[in-house]
């Protein structure tokens, strides 16, 4: 029963943060500039190619990952949740001993900080709009912002 409560509260937490985020998005991201610079089909196309080059081996063609080794990207809280933690995973890699959605994964993910901001935005936009995910796209400027915050 403890487990159920834990899982339950985890989803409440995730929901709350998603809710908070969507509110924030409306307030802080006016559509004007952002929308004009985003060509979604082009970004998705570039993202698909980049995914095949840098992500596919570990996360697999269907985004399902590898049980116990590489986490799935299908409706994973990290993928559907906030953009900033997701951008940080690409920039810093992932080597933490933490469970992801109550499962553990052991392979190290290297940092991909050498990819350009636009490439990272394309990959994440692709991931967030494939494998059963339907989340907002990512802008180059959002990656840029997180990258510069890490340098401080």
């Amino acid at each position: 029963m403890n487990k159920i409560v834990l899982v339950f509260s985890f989803f409440i937490f995730m929901d709350a943060s998603a809710f908070a985020q969507s509110t924030k998005k409306i307030v802080t991201a006016p559509k004007t500039k952002a929308a004009s610079t985003l060509d979604l089909p082009a970004s998705l196309k570039r993202g698909k190619t980049l995914y095949a080059s840098y992500c596919l081996t570990c996360h697999q063609a269907d985004g399902g990952g590898v049980p116990n080794l590489n986490p799935p990207l299908i409706q994973t809280s990290y993928v559907t949740g906030g953009k900033e933690p997701l951008i940080k995973i690409i920039l810093n890699g992932f080597t933490s001993h933490v469970d992801i959605d109550a499962e553990s994964y052991s392979n190290n993910m290297p940092p991909f900080e050498w990819l350009k901001d636009q490439q990272i935005a394309d990959i994440l936009t692709y991931i967030r709009n494939n494998f059963g995910n339907k989340e907002s796209a990512l802008m180059k400027t959002e990656v840029q912002k997180v990258r510069s915050s890490l340098k401080k």
């Binding site: 159920i4 899982v7 339950f8 989803f11 409440i12 929901d15 709350a16 809710f19 095949a52 840098y54 596919l56 081996t57 570990c58 697999q60 063609a61 269907d62 399902g64 990952g65 590898v66 049980p67 116990n68 080794l69 590489n70 799935p72 890699g93 080597t95 001993h97 553990s104 052991s106 392979n107 190290n108 993910m109 290297p110 940092p111």
Partner: protein, 430 residues
């Protein structure tokens, strides 16, 4: 706020529903397992004269196992289930097993039976439990701690174990890195000079099987240059340790200018090594190329896929195609199977992930004939069909994944699956 409450309620209902449904179906399933299995060899393809049954579908992540002469089976779970990391199973005369208990609140892979003790490992320690004459554990909550403080990286963290006939226990300590790059798994990142992690990982360590609280300083680095070993066994014919190495990943991803995706899906070999004290198998400086039949200098250490590495490293005794993930090794000493199988090696291949975008491979149990402690012929697939699908593009598609092997008192072969927690029993009855 509507979205908030609706989604959480649905999730809660799904969770509750699943657990109730699971409790119901797992009971019904167990009853029907034996009968339905008989008709189709539990879905396996086997050589003529062999049959297979599923003795249990447990849904636990069963790694290695031991089978006693008294119908008790002990299985080690990757993660504890309801606080139990070792499950006790009783097998009846109809080939059906029931979980009758459990103990040990730690996950892991290694479990081994020798001289009246059950040995089991977490990812950092090794314990042993005294058995009575019925092979029952006397003090399940009070094991003796044999070894402690072993390094466990995020990767290759499991500790497989085996004992020899002279009171020693051997444990794999896997490399925490794929190939000892300065930045693990980063494209183009070069190897750390000398790969210092080999002082405490990337090899097999030997400890005394009866001495308590041993740490690194009490053990011997028995063999080094082994990236990660999950399947290992003691060959009674030539009194030697044999191990199956998991070869390094991602040659193409890390060095795309040197290796095509196709080459990277096949290389390097999954190697079986016969190990003598002091041996060095060469990880991370070389890898074995089963197509060129050569030890090749690793790209992280200046190689290009062709330049040969140092001759000082041992050669494998069998080189299987890459990435198939050998998780179980067993030398067959039973009398049930035909004479061809006597003293030969069974290898359980968990199945690859690192071949994408090519099709995956493995997901079977292979056999290598042996004579006097040496392979006497080519390897072959012994039991196939665990995946339940013709083509595995991604490991998640595989229904079952072979992991541990054990021999029953009557000479039958047991194979575990850590995806669905199934245990297969393979018998010969021409």
């Amino acid at each position: 706020m509507l979205r908030f409450s609706f989604r959480t309620i649905v999730l809660l209902l799904v969770i509750l529903g699943c657990s109730t449904f699971y409790a119901f179906t797992s009971q019904t399933k167990n009853k029907n397992t034996f009968l339905s299995s008989l008709h189709d060899n539990a879905g396996l393809k086997l050589p003529s004269g062999f049959s297979a049954v599923k003795i249990i579908d447990s849904s636990a992540r069963i790694r290695h196992l031991v089978v006693t002469t008294q119908g008790i089976i002990y299985v080690k779970l990757a993660r504890p289930k309801d606080g139990k990391g070792i499950l006790i199973l009783h097998e009846d005369s109809h080939g059906k097993a029931t979980i009758t208990g459990g103990f040990g609140n730690y996950g892991g892979t290694g479990i081994f039976l020798k001289n009246g003790y059950l040995y089991a490992s977490s990812n950092e320690e090794i314990f042993r439990y005294k058995l009575n004459e019925k092979y029952e554990v006397i003090n399940p909550d009070d094991p003796e701690k044999i070894v402690t403080g072993l390094k466990a990286g995020r990767q290759h963290e499991t500790k497989s174990i085996v004992l020899d006939n002279d009171g020693n226990i051997y444990v794999n300590i896997g490399s925490p890195l794929n190939s000892c790059q300065e930045e693990d798994r980063k494209p183009g990142s070069m190897g750390i000079k000398g790969c210092p992690l080999l002082d405490s990982a990337g090899g097999i360590w030997q400890f005394r099987a009866d001495k308590l609280n041993q740490t690194y300083k009490d053990g011997i680095r028995y063999a080094t240059g082994l990236r990660n070993v999950v399947g290992l066994d003691w060959n009674q014919q030539n009194n030697s340790l044999f191990v199956m190495q998991h070869g390094r990943d991602q040659l193409h991803d890390l060095f795309p200018e040197m290796f095509t995706e196709k080459e990277s899906s096949l290389l390097p070999a999954e190697c079986m090594y016969m190990i003598q004290k002091g041996d060095n198998a060469g990880f991370p400086f070389i890898y074995y190329d089963q197509i060129q039949h050569k030890k090749i200098l690793a790209p992280e250490y200046g190689g290009n896929g062709k330049t040969e590495g140092s001759k000082q490293y041992i050669d494998p005794v069998v080189a299987f195609p890459g990435h198939m993930a050998p998780n179980g090794l067993l030398f067959y000493t039973g009398n049930m199977f035909p004479v061809k199988y006597k003293n030969g090696a069974f290898v359980a291949f968990h199945g690859s992930w690192n071949r994408a975008p090519e099709n995956q491979a493995g997901y079977f149990v292979a056999f290598v004939p042996f004579k006097n402690g040496k392979p006497s012929g080519d390897w072959e697939i012994f039991a196939d069909g665990f995946a339940g699908v013709d083509v595995v593009k991604s490991p998640r598609q595989a229904q079952h994944r072979p992991c541990g092997l054990a021999q029953g008192a009557d000479g039958s072969l047991y194979v575990t699956d850590d995806a669905k927690g199934t245990i297969y029993k393979i018998i010969y009855h021409p």
